[in-house]
Symmetry: D2
Amino acid sequence: MTWMIDGVELQSRLLSGSGKFGSASLMRAALEASGTEIVTLALKRIEHDMQSDDMLSATADLPLHLLPNTSGAKDAKEAIFAAQLGRELLQTNWVKLEIHPDPRHLLPDPVETLLAAEQLVKQGFTVLPYCHADPVLCKRLQEVGCAAVMPLGSPIGSNQGLQTRDFLQIIIEQASVPVIVDAGIGAPSHAAEAMELGADAVLVNTAIASSGNPVVMARAFAQAVSAGRQAFEAGLAGRHNGASASSPLTAFLE
Amino acid sequence: MTWMIDGVELQSRLLSGSGKFGSASLMRAALEASGTEIVTLALKRIEHDMQSDDMLSATADLPLHLLPNTSGAKDAKEAIFAAQLGRELLQTNWVKLEIHPDPRHLLPDPVETLLAAEQLVKQGFTVLPYCHADPVLCKRLQEVGCAAVMPLGSPIGSNQGLQTRDFLQIIIEQASVPVIVDAGIGAPSHAAEAMELGADAVLVNTAIASSGNPVVMARAFAQAVSAGRQAFEAGLAGRHNGASASSPLTAFLE
Amino acid sequence: MTWMIDGVELQSRLLSGSGKFGSASLMRAALEASGTEIVTLALKRIEHDMQSDDMLSATADLPLHLLPNTSGAKDAKEAIFAAQLGRELLQTNWVKLEIHPDPRHLLPDPVETLLAAEQLVKQGFTVLPYCHADPVLCKRLQEVGCAAVMPLGSPIGSNQGLQTRDFLQIIIEQASVPVIVDAGIGAPSHAAEAMELGADAVLVNTAIASSGNPVVMARAFAQAVSAGRQAFEAGLAGRHNGASASSPLTAFLE
Amino acid sequence: MTWMIDGVELQSRLLSGSGKFGSASLMRAALEASGTEIVTLALKRIEHDMQSDDMLSATADLPLHLLPNTSGAKDAKEAIFAAQLGRELLQTNWVKLEIHPDPRHLLPDPVETLLAAEQLVKQGFTVLPYCHADPVLCKRLQEVGCAAVMPLGSPIGSNQGLQTRDFLQIIIEQASVPVIVDAGIGAPSHAAEAMELGADAVLVNTAIASSGNPVVMARAFAQAVSAGRQAFEAGLAGRHNGASASSPLTAFLE
């Protein structure tokens, strides 16, 4: 039931973000409730003054793997620079590679992402790229040595769920590295659906942090991820069009 | 967090069926794993020889409310007769009213269902009618005194999930009795989605009983129902079209 | 390629409404562009002073079958009264039976609709009932002698298309009278989809009348209905999950 | 109402393929019925013996722009070679760039496609690349000088329609070159939907060629494309959740 990234064994299949929480203490409480073992954070938030960083100090004693992300990078060069910065500041080789030249939809650039991934792998990073749900691109990212792929369900922060469901299915079938569905997961049912498809994990940020009650919502996502994974392992019955009686139908009044 | 039917307080929001299991012991194990407190069973299966009924003997010591159903009834008259039979045999006033003249799609008859519901309420039954996701019908069933309404997500046994989602939403908004989504729930994500909409409970049978591992699947559904309910209570963030960054976007390289 | 209602042969499979147009002349132009042969109108609009009714005078010379509707009726009694009124005023036995007790969602009442339909048939009306996409109800409406059934795609005026698609499919399979999809058709693609499923016709009002250019939109709907019908008759290829090359794939460079 | 590719004015917004038809004469009849002005054909089919090529001889007198495609190419190098071959054989600078390394799902490679597009533009080709519905990629293809972009609706030959609808919407908003939706369009309603979104054109092959009656189906698609375009130009009313009466609701019986 466990899974691995870069040789690290993990219990939780729910990755969390650290943005948008009302306060550092609320973030800490939600992260604890979520059971997450990997939390992503934007490099820009920590670079200026690490000592004062609320996020880091609030969670320093939790058993978390920090996953710095390159959010804000517009091309491979900026992302590589950010990744190097993150490695120095946080003492980790892990990096979530995000390159989105488009400030409105925050959609990732496939070409720059592949280019940066290849370079970063060569520089010894454990690279987890955020990317479109493009099966060919995911395969290439895997081939250049990425430790996982992180295809999107729908645009970041849109809460629209798995609009890319059929492409995620193909990505999962082809993958030899973990598939972590990122972006667009707005409800526990979306997270469960991704796990039922066979995804290895999901990353959730907005839907927890922006909820009316982030701690309860974090717990709800943790349960949904567990539910979806168990369903995948137990084997879901297929969908079909006709009805099929749960109860025998022979007329009981004869 | 609890809910009630007919003055009975319930913890679990997952109702189970008793059909299609490979054996009585498997059914028992799945029911225990599901945490369900209400299990429905077809009257025809028990009428001939109650002593030998595997289902009843296998679960006699579990803390379950039995909910006999009138599956197989083709009109109000047959359903009323079956309900009366169930009351005598199982010593319960509760009845899940199912009237489906159509053996292929097993879809419920709105007119006969309303007619039978009205009569059964007058005869002192606690009536839970299975019905189309028709908001006007659900309101009328409520008005004649039904203890809950059980609108369908999609055809029985189809595992297609909440095809009637927008109509369920209206039903839930209008209801003053519990809304239990019945039929079509084929995966934990579907159950979570129903709860996120604000349904009070779901009934699942085929998806658990026909799974490769009914015990694990039962547990998965229990978690998904709990997850969906908590998300509803915590307050889901809305869906929208544009993207919205989880992480600040100010260029960090300036 | 023609179809029939009550022995009347019809070329056009697009029925139109007469509400919500900016002016009577715009309505007339849109009706002409649509090619429609049946136009529905609310009885309440004409009752007070028929002579002055813009709608009727504007279209008096067009070859249209008027289909008075009972919109606004809250139960069978009101609907029957309205139908009788319509017969007197408009000299037609045709009536679109609409009973919606709920002023917010305007969803039809299945029980009152069946009751009124039965009575109106006995009184010699040609009854076209608006109803939920409930296959059992549609069958019963057909059995009491309705000339067609008019199941909804989604709530009136919502423009959400065929949310009830799978139930419409069952209704069409079972029907021995024409199936006219009513309500929710917000775009030509929705109308085409209904026809591709095998519906006999569609009724469109809001999407044409509220368009920026009702005349062009009416023409668009007419083409889409024709396209969908031809596709149904020619036979659509099935959907499937794997890809399938349109062009041969043998490597051409060897 | 016309549109342009590379300075060529076009009336028809339906592009056709030439594969999968039962015979050359059937293909010719379907192409005529479709009104298409651009027909794509696989280079490999013509290279060995152009004289005997049925497709070309059957349509030589029709007013068609031939659009050779590089289907079968696995990388940029193969695609460029194929494009050059096509230019020589067919005396056209136009090329539909298709690079799909994956023989099962036939999904396009974003990196090789961008690479090849850039080269081919430099070599004077008018490049129309087939690509994933990836807004960032489409923008980059446009920036290197492609004459149009051809994002997919769903996998080639799957007939599943616009699974990528929300991403197509973004692509269309951003595009300064024509957007032609390619792949997955399995019914006239899908084609109409693409046009309603604002796509400039669609390419259809399998759904016409594999239909029970390709000629009728070709005509149906032509009408649907026209319907969808007119609806886009007239302005579709928005979708919303509540109902909205087409007819006035004031009780008429008072």
